[in-house]
Symmetry: C2
């Protein structure tokens, strides 16, 4: 797990619950993107979206609040190469928001679920004393889950797509500006790489896998920590999204390295195996595969030879007054 | 589903997602206490606890906030006769609360899970702009789930334990008083009837089953609606908890009928089959079984011959200013 108050808190929670005490049905316990429970190889994850922490209501339409929360949650299934089955949505709204927002938020949840081949199978609703609260639970089948702990020394580190667009939108809003349409779309309607992850997993290419929710530096750090390896990122190879490139100065690379919520995949693999499939992959999905680093002995993440961990990731306890 | 804004909202959510569109792996979709997914017969439910809606921080210790939320969520597994396996906890706290509350809340979640034979297998954490938000996801195995839709005309309606204690605590706090210790314990540390439900399910006694989270009137209404029957409650047979009886006047019966969060079981069954087991049940679990009504043709719930539905249940959108 990477740095920051949020991760420290998660680490504390989990350290008091050693894997040795898990019921035999639990195949993957806490610490990866999903828990996996057998029989049935069900992958389960839960993902909170809270107003004024994860989004502001003047940034997103209600339907987008639901879509984005569900897409981000579904990305946790992509992160272990699971096939989506169902979504449960726990939604709390202030009474004044029920009539205007509830249906649209749930339409967004249902839309993201349907695009992923999943159905809304349950949930909970409540009054909120203020902020919109949406916790999305995703359930999928992970017959051959790819976890964070399989990276091997000598592996290449690969990412799908382009990085930094959602962070560029966030930066624009926080500066009081309007984001570019492509940046806004990346933030409001992220596309979890579910089919891409399954396709790669079926071909047994990936040794370790995660989705880029905290940012490349933070998420590569999760793989490094779980696998007991060092990951060296080569900054000049990063596939920086045009919306991030437009930020100018040092920002494009910072957004691509530390910007959260790209929901692209990051995996480690034998480079030759990836190169043999990359053309087919891009032809099928219209998404690039880019080698951005290498796995070596050691620990932590470096970027162009410098420590990449401090301040990395997207820390929901950092920044802001609340 | 019963009356009230909360239930209307749930009904709206689910009505747009017809069961016909569910993936084949979904054995029980939205509308019962849990979704059930095969293969593996995994039962899944999610349950929100939000500060100043479900509890106030001057009522509960942080450990109790976690325990109560997890116990209430686990009760949804009891409500379909599922065996608990795992719990995922999504917790959001204001930064000022992290150090003092996070560990204790999670200790409470873990304690309730451990008592139920389940482990903490995942979760999420976030900053909150204000209130403590805790969504507990429960996962169990429901080899023979007992649902809400199986009530038969002529069945008796039975409940476990005694009713109204949690509501008596709530009433005391809201009146500015301190609740009796037994009432406070019922609210702060509810005991989901997991082993009791499994024991009864193994003996094939129950035709329809629910847990009393919304209150007997509301929850019997859920069974009536799902089963297409009428349920007539006989008020004088209700097993009113001593803490509710102490309220005086009409309150004892109102608390027992409409008070939420007792987390006892309510089921319908052939009376003779229940009577044959009731002695064993009470000897084993130290919990009474009481017949409180009968299933007949029709719809809705009546209490002593009067309509029992309006204002029934524990509506998280009703009452209060927020």
């Amino acid at each position: 797990l990477g740095p920051g108050v949020e991760f420290d808190m998660i680490r504390r929670f989990l350290s008091a619950d050693p894997g040795a005490g898990l019921p035999e049905e639990v195949r993957v316990g806490p610490g990866d993107d999903c828990a996996v429970i057998g029989p049935g190889d069900l992958a389960i994850s839960t993902d909170l979206s809270i107003e004024d922490v994860h989004f502001r209501r003047d940034w997103l339409e209600p339907e987008e609040i639901g879509y984005r929360a569900a897409a981000g949650a579904l990305s946790d299934l992509a992160a272990v190469a699971a096939r989506p089955i169902g979504v449960l949505a726990a939604l709390a709204l202030h009474r004044r928001d029920v009539d205007v927002m509830a249906q649209a938020i749930m339409d967004g949840v249902r839309g993201a679920a349907a695009e992923a081949g999943a159905a809304l199978i349950g949930g909970d609703t409540s009054r909120s004393p203020g902020p919109v609260v949406l916790d999305v639970v995703v359930v999928g089948i992970a017959s051959g889950p790819v976890l964070r702990d399989g990276a091997k020394v000598g592996d290449g580190v690969w990412v799908t797509g382009e990085l930094g667009a959602a962070a560029a939108a966030l930066r624009a809003w926080e500066a009081g500006a309007l984001p570019r349409p492509d940046a806004r779309a990346a933030f409001a309607r992220p596309q979890p790489r579910l089919r891409e992850a399954l396709w790669l997993a079926e071909r047994l290419v990936m040794h370790a896998l995660i989705d880029l929710s905290d940012g490349l530096a933070g998420d590569a750090g999760h793989i490094a920590a779980a696998s007991g390896v060092h990951i060296a990122i080569d900054g000049k190879t990063l596939p920086v999204h045009p919306a991030a490139r437009a930020a100018g100065g040092d920002y494009p690379h910072l957004l691509a390295i530390h910007g959260g919520e790209d929901y692209e995949l990051c995996f480690t693999a034998d480079d030759a195996a990836v190169l043999a499939l990359a053309g087919d992959f891009t032809a099928r999905f219209g998404v690039r595969l880019t080698r951005v680093g290498v796995v070596s002995e050691g620990s932590g993440v470096s970027i162009d030879g410098r420590d990449g961990t401090p301040g990395g990731g997207f820390d929901h306890f950092a920044g802001g007054d609340a």
